[in-house]
Symmetry: C2
Subunit: 246 residues, 2 copies
């Protein structure tokens, strides 16, 4: 539901509790959400606009990089987002849906997320990439477990682990190791990112019945949704620790 | 020698005179420039920084797009530049050279080219992408004809035709078809792009002996270089006609 969807933090999710077990998502071979569920188009569309908005935010934030090496690393992350966009555009096209029409309802919420979490430093930008990616990966990976295989494959592909997270972890850890005030500042920043992501996710759900139905079908019931958000908070805390924060 | 190196205009080159014949570049099976020529590292490096600077300029210029469709098209062009960068980074690494060290001497000239040709409208940005790419493709394709096969393959790969040029041609043609003042303005803009590209190419050559030697080896002699620049001007005029300009 956030802009960063390059999947940098799927590894971190794997380090914590088992996501499926945590929220009671079914792992039996028959998926509970068929490929023709009307929410699937919404799911692909929100992921697609997430890639586009992440691309442009990364390109913009690269200006904050103190080195050419940092700029190149960010350009590679941004290019990976576009590979994922291509995958989603094709998946939507296969469903007879134009990606631009499908993305339109999600522009406002995702832009609002980015506007409310506009980094003012290079390190804030790095934390946002890693943490935003992680929150998105948590949310969509759990949905994928309940989706028909041909749909789940698309979702997992666009959340696939990249090796960019290593760069980010090193940048942040090195910077905060001996700088307590920077660490405190970035810890607060991380908390704000999670809050804004959940706010915008709830806003999208309230607007899009089909997507809400899909999330309900994936999590089982309202208790399942509460467990999903709790799991996301735990994973977030684990990611912050990996960055040397919190 | 310019920033745009996505290869959009190689097709246009093919439409004109045969490049090899035009400048007397050898087409016999024995390449005249061995793979270990000291200018090859410079060649890969200037191409690599060209991709990075084109990436960030495109991402910046996408703000000028009146539509999300345009922004997405530009993001795809930018992502393609990064694929090419990866190819060049690997090729340099294979020669035991760090891409960042190798690019350093070219940062100033390429940044100067972009600073002196900063588009102020969406159409200027589109013309710059297409025309800049074309000038670069003309120059480097001719060099490739004289290079050892393993080097030529890398150069041709990063100049490979993409289908993005179709988008640009349509955007520009449609805009200038019934707007004469826009057509006149963009025609002057195209002329300026060629002039600035040649100025910066000459600046780079004057600074980098190895690259000058490589270009001399590829073109035969000073007469060959003059013929190369004449060929580039002819191809440029052809590209402008394709855009409905000039």
């Amino acid at each position: 539901m956030t802009g960063g969807t390059g999947g940098a933090a799927t590894r971190v999710v794997g380090m914590g509790v088992n996501p499926s077990a945590a929220v009671g998502v079914s792992t039996e071979s028959t998926p509970r959400i068929p490929a023709d569920h009307s929410g699937v188009t919404d799911l692909f569309a929100v992921l697609a606009y997430g890639e586009i908005s992440a691309f442009y935010r990364l390109a913009e934030e690269a200006k904050l990089s103190p080195t050419l090496r940092g700029k190149v690393a960010v350009a590679k992350m941004a290019a990976a987002e576009m590979d994922h966009f291509d995958t989603l555009e094709q998946a939507l096209s296969g469903r007879g849906v134009d990606v631009f029409d499908a993305m339109a309802p999600f522009v406002r919420a995702l832009d609002a997320y980015h506007d409310s979490t506009d980094p003012s430093t290079w390190l804030e930008s790095m934390v946002k990439f890693y943490v935003g990616d992680g929150i998105a990966a948590d949310f969509y990976t759990l949905l994928a477990d309940a989706l028909a295989p041909e749909v789940a494959t698309v979702v997992r592909d666009v959340l696939a682990e990249t090796n960019h997270s290593e760069f980010v972890i090193e940048e942040v850890r090195r910077a905060v190791e001996e700088n307590r005030s920077e660490r405190d500042r970035l810890t607060l920043w991380g908390r704000r990112l999670l809050g804004e992501a959940i706010t915008q996710a709830q806003y999208v759900m309230a607007q899009r019945d089909e997507l809400t139905e899909l999330v309900l079908a994936a999590t089982g019931d309202l208790t399942g949704i509460a467990a999903l958000f709790e799991h996301m908070q735990n994973s977030h805390a684990e990611r912050m620790r990996v960055l040397g924060l919190g």
